[in-house]
Symmetry: C2
Subunit: 164 residues, 2 copies
């Protein structure tokens, strides 16, 4: 913080990226272009995205999807990224930048994603499972699903029919 210039977004993102990569390096991973680029993208875009999405992002399209997959698995294992179940189709991944992981309100029609505040009771419950029941590393996954105002209006005409 003693530098003469302002910290720009790009600066802080690059710093953050390098800090994370260095941490991983200390834990045995190698500083490869694919790793640096993936962390860079995930730091710049903190919303959850599918492996397919990440693979197609600007800085990553040059890498093989299998490479992104393998790195992502290691990052998940290292708890640098987390998996979010906002779609039943496939897993979404998001970088972990703080203790408080966001929960989401998802539109099941258009996929619109809104961050919601995690109720503190959940943290208390996690603590209880650990202290009282002997579980370890308890985390939660909370999503709200529904139709966003826009899609709700659109779907109102739709009749409720089960058969075919």
């Amino acid at each position: 913080m003693n530098s003469r210039h302002h910290i720009t977004m790009a600066d802080s993102n690059a710093e953050l990226r390098d800090k994370i990569v260095s941490g991983l390096q200390e834990r045995g991973m190698r500083r490869t272009p694919a790793l640096v680029n993936l962390i860079g993208e995930m730091v710049a875009h903190t919303q959850p995205a599918s492996l397919h999405d990440w693979s197609k992002r600007p800085g990553l399209s040059e890498h093989d999807p299998a490479t992104i997959y393998r790195i992502m698995m290691k990052l998940e294992h290292a708890k640098v990224v987390r998996r979010v179940n906002i779609s039943e189709r496939c897993s979404y991944f998001q970088i972990i930048l703080s203790d408080a992981q966001p929960d989401y309100l998802v539109c099941t029609d258009c996929g619109d994603l809104q961050t919601v505040e995690t109720p503190p009771e959940l943290r208390a419950m996690e603590e209880r499972f650990i202290v009282q029941a002997g579980w370890q590393g308890v985390r939660h996954e909370l999503e709200f699903f529904g139709l966003c105002p826009h899609c709700a209006q659109k779907d109102n005409a739709q009749q409720f029919v089960i058969a075919n």
Copy 2:
């Protein structure tokens, strides 16, 4: 309730199954063996299970998995069953027997499943999204993940290594 004999578990399950099937019939579905058997199994076994699991159950192994799949999709659409994301591998399905849908504490190692009490705050949040933000049909999905006491002990020796 005016019958002379006690209501046995089998009796009430069969009754429940028939009641659900009849309700579906009124909504346009046909009373086929596959439908009756699937509802019967799901009423008798209320824990979530994968399509693969359901297809292999005693009363259902004679039916084609694609048939089970198609019926399950209709049941989900009819809100007779719900999808539970307790595994990233595939979707789990569970019959809906009451308004209060259970949430789960899942062991990420052995798959052990425990029902947990849903904090009332979540219901309040759902209400808020509907009333204040204009969303429709909002439901939630909450899971806790961690290592159960048994697996926690077992995994304690395991060293934390990222690199292959």
